[in-house]
């Protein structure tokens, strides 16, 4: 696991965020085993107590489950995984909207620009750009479907 720590916010939170991101993106699947605390601490050169704190919080948040003697695993609860994905999307959206609002763009403009950007960035590699891709894709998030558009 690669971790780019920016050090301006608590490190245990950044570790949690990284796991959430990987779960949301599907890089980590339900039931996947994650590194032991000691392995992760050595890997990213972070204080073992900080890693321990992150793992404890993830357990409380229902992101992971620890099986005694076997290790720590990503939750198998599909509901929780969908929730994490939604949470990450909400956060990305909030950051985007706030920044665009500060730049003086209104809602309609933003939506139009998002469509354009989506086609430019994702459209070429995706299954084919559609006008309704974004809205549909957003809906898909709720059902925990893999992303990509389901446009008609």
């Amino acid at each position: 696991m690669q971790l780019k720590l920016d050090q301006h916010s608590p490190i245990y939170m950044q570790i949690i965020d990284e796991f959430k991101r990987q779960v949301a993106r599907g890089d980590l699947r339900p039931g996947d085993r994650i590194p032991s605390q000691r392995e992760l601490a050595a890997m990213v050169q972070v204080n073992p107590n900080t890693v321990q704190r992150a793992y404890r919080e993830m357990e409380l948040m229902g992101i992971t489950e620890t099986l005694r003697g076997q290790g720590t695993f990503i939750t198998r609860d599909p509901e929780r995984v969908a929730q994490i994905r939604r949470e990450m999307a909400d956060r990305a959206l909030a950051g985007f909207v706030r920044e665009m609002h500060a730049l003086g763009y209104g809602c309609e403009e933003m939506v139009a620009m998002v469509r354009g950007a989506y086609e430019r960035i994702v459209g070429e590699t995706g299954a084919g750009p559609h006008a309704g891709a974004l809205a549909e894709g957003h809906q898909a998030g709720r059902g925990g479907e893999p992303h990509g558009d389901r446009g008609v």
Partner: protein, 231 residues
Amino acid sequence: MATVVFDRVTKRFGRVRALNDLSVTIPSGTILGLLGPNGAGKSTMLKLIAGLYRPDGGRVTIDGDVPSPKTKAKVAYLPEIDYLYGWMTVRQILDYVRAFYPDWDQVRAEELLRFMALDPAARVSRLSKGMRARLKIVVAMSRSAPLILLDEPLSGIDPPSRSRVLSAIVSEFREDGQTVVMSTHDVAESENLFQEVLFLREGQVALMGDADQLRAQRGKSIRDLFEEVYA
């Protein structure tokens, strides 16, 4: 477990007060970053804990005892200076040092030696500065001492060696009550290692706290805080 207490400690060198009425408690089970520019009193603090200096005023205690041969058994100290005999080989250094310490862990020493990519047959005087720094870490971390003092273990060595040293500290640290106190003026590279940080200024505590808490409160990295404290 080892708790270190400085109670109104003053240490003078001539007219200079290296430590000036310093009171602080270092709890056990933590990795503490002892931070500050040169001359702030970092090395002096470590030497007082190691029993190499005596305070001119106040008291230093480790679990209630003033530094003595008894407390030295609990303390592994890595000095900043190059103290290893140049004519010895790496293997001879380890054999020599282990004779002094009942808590020496040979299995760990061998592991660390491999991890540090040190050749046991190499003569110390032929090792690069980075390799000598690695060897010092092997010597300090191969003991099962509850209290490990590292004085500038990263200073003046190449980036790959710095990275190895940091990894070794992380992987050998035992959370069940071991305490590591590490001084450095190179904050950027080592700040992730520290659970707590203590900023020293002119022999006094300028700021102390849990590293993640400080980041959350100030929205700054420890390195930025460092620059703020010493501006």
